[in-house]
Amino acid sequence: MPTVLLLGAGSDMAVAIARKFAAAHYDIQLAARKAAALQPLQQDLQVRYGITATTHDFDATDYSTHAAFFAGLPTMPDITVCAFGYLGDQELAQRDWQEAATIIHSNYTGAVSVLNIIAESYEARGKGMIIGISSVAGERGRQSNYIYGSAKAGFTAYLSGLRNRLFRSGVHVMSVQPGFVNTRMTQHLNLPPLLTAQPDQVANAVFKAAQRSRNVLYVKWPWKYIMLIIKMIPEGIFKKLKL
């Protein structure tokens, strides 16, 4: 059985991705900060899809544990999905370094730390796939969430560099830019329905794109063009916009 490792397995998006791969008979390794809380999901995957699912303690910001975490998995996963992230509170983060640091470490540094280790081992083995869930927020800084956006920008750049580096060794890296997704993380926001994906739409798109080894995936197609336009707005105008 091929195996998928889900880093940050507690999020709605991760749950949907886990189910999608499990339905296609992948075994699933679920990793998150409180592994005990993943138990219902582990049972659910096993009952629904008859696959093997395991749970693992993983803290993205506890870098010193990452190597042992990965080495300690029951089997080396064929696919790693990096799905953790923290939206945080932009206004708070402007004043409070603690909040800013949490945003940066949860979305960028933690991801680099763990994916560096996984990339090394995939490269040595000459196969494997890394799927990073980034965000369109990383494509241009906006006043409303540039701390989160800058961490995601770093992550997007990291993924594209990694893709570039690992290409020759047969390891594939896919970046996912989901746009708005209807999850618990965004349940207090008023999102435009046409641009908002459901977690299982994201999961379907990720699964399909993974089968085809796509490089960059925008889950809802308008986002590609929206971001293109947003990136093209001259800075002189952009800075006057309240985005």
Binding site: G10, D12, V15, A37, P40, L41, Q43, D44, V47, R48, R184, Q187, H188, L189, N190
Partner: protein, 443 residues
């Protein structure tokens, strides 16, 4: 986030703050730090039972925890929907012990309404099949209850419309099946007399219900089609079906994409529909083998058919009358026929015995009718309520959006006892819905 919420009847609609959880601890913390909360499943009750100031959406609480394939026990979180369950259990030779007429409800909703199916006279309501369940009560505790443990909480939660707390986990038994098909028999009845006689004649069938044409007068008053069925055995299937008896052919889905103007469903169209349905082409008796879905869930094939009633929404009026009061049934159908406000869906069913605390079913006849919301409707339904009371019947809370307080208190014999238990587990009215306020259920 503030959201516009309405249940299946699209009446009433309110603005509510919706919250969803996947972790028990977060859910418990939320419960103890808020008031005017109500759990919400898939919004398939018709009226205002799962509408409140703060709603707790259970749809993300959707994990299936265990499935004992040998003995037929399933344990799930409360937000799992019946359609997800069927996808898993049917291929393994198991079926739901009790299912309502739609599979798009959650397990929590099935318990809170103590739903009944076409097999009520044989298998009782959903509560009779629960081994144990967890409820987060008003003080944030998770209490495990069953027929032998915290019995008061158990019985007040079955049919208790979410007022004892949030159901989080339910373990229940399943029914063994050999195939995914139903052997069904459809019988045409000339009038009400005849359909009631047929119900009696075919009461040994596990599943039964009848569609009634409410607009007929005179000799055809109450003409209907009785549908009875049994789970088919392998021997009942044709050779093609026998190859994979537990697997159904895939089917396309229809959907009504937006609200139709309400004039579409006026008396004339209802008459035309019923004419086609009961018309001359229908043989006296039809026997066939059908997949379980069209048998149990004929309406689910048309997603969002409720939008057919237009923006103002509709009321489903479902009452039950004791067996000896068939006359009440005649009286109510006559009032409807006089008024000319018939509905597409008039479903008649005979309930078996039931002695639970607050659940709807009692031994007798139950009839469910749809009425589009319009001027004068509520006054008319108040009149029907009087007839229901007069004959010792009651209304289904899960369909209700408008009954008056005294109708509830007069017709549910255990109302006081129920209210006392609610007070114990829901101190300070932490859990409260529009319905519970209207009926003073959390007084």
């Amino acid at each position: 986030m503030q959201k516009r919420l309405a249940n299946w009847g699209n009446y009433p609609a309110i603005t509510s703050e919706e919250n969803a959880f996947t972790q028990e601890q977060q859910l418990r913390d939320f419960v103890v730090s808020n008031h005017q909360l109500i759990a919400r499943g898939n919004g398939r009750c018709y009226g205002d039972a799962s509408l409140g100031k703060h709603s707790i959406s259970m749809l993300k609480y959707d994990k299936i925890l265990s499935f004992d394939e040998q003995n037929g026990f399933l344990e799930t979180q409360a937000g799992v929907t019946l359609d997800q369950i069927l996808d898993i259990i049917v291929p393994k030779g198991w079926f739901l012990p009790v299912t309502p007429g739609t599979k798009f409800i959650t397990v929590g909703g099935a318990v809170a309404s103590d739903v009944h199916g076409k097999n009520h006279h044989v298998d009782g309501a959903f509560s009779g099949h629960i081994t144990e369940m967890d409820v987060i009560t008003g003080d944030g505790e998770t209490v495990t209850c069953s027929q032998g443990r915290h019995t008061d909480l158990f019985w007040a939660t079955c049919g208790g419309m979410g007022l004892t707390g949030v159901i989080t986990r339910v373990k229940f038994d399943l029914k063994k099946i050999e195939t995914a098909y139903i052997k069904q028999k459809q019988l045409k009845a000339r009038n009400l007399e005849e359909v009631i006689r047929l119900f009696d004649e075919y009461k040994h069938y596990t599943y039964s219900m009848a569609w009634i044409d409410c607009l007929q007068k005179g000799d055809s008053f109450g003409r209907s089609i009785l549908i009875v069925g049994e789970h088919a055995t392998k021997a009942d299937l044709n050779p093609k079906q026998q190859e994979a008896p537990l697997k159904l052919p895939a089917k396309p889905r229809l959907t009504v994409p937006f609200n139709l103007p309400s004039f579409i469903l006026n008396t004339f169209t209802v008459k035309a529909f019923n004419w086609l349905y009961y018309g001359k082409n229908f043989k006296k008796e039809i026997n066939n083998v059908v997949p379980y879905e069209p048998f149990f869930y004929p309406l689910d094939a048309i997603l969002h058919w409720n939008r057919g009633y237009g923006k103002a929404g509709f009321i489903q009026y479902q009452f039950v009358l004791p067996l000896e009061h068939k006359a009440g049934l005649v009286a109510i159908l006559q009032r409807i026929s006089e008024k000319g406000w018939g509905s597409f869906l008039a479903v008649l069913k005979v309930f078996g015995h039931q002695d639970s605390l607050i659940s709807f079913p009692m031994e007798g006849y139950t009839l469910a009718l749809d009425f589009p919301v319009r001027k004068g409707l509520f006054e008319f339904l108040d009149e029907l309520d009087e007839i229901v009371l007069q004959y010792g019947g009651r209304l289904y809370l899960s369909k209700d959006a408008r009954m008056k307080q005294d109708v509830f208190w007069k017709s549910y014999p255990n109302a006081n006892r129920f209210a006392d238990i609610v007070k114990t587990y829901n101190p300070g009215k932490r859990f409260e819905s529009l319905q519970s306020e209207r009926l003073l259920l959390t007084k």
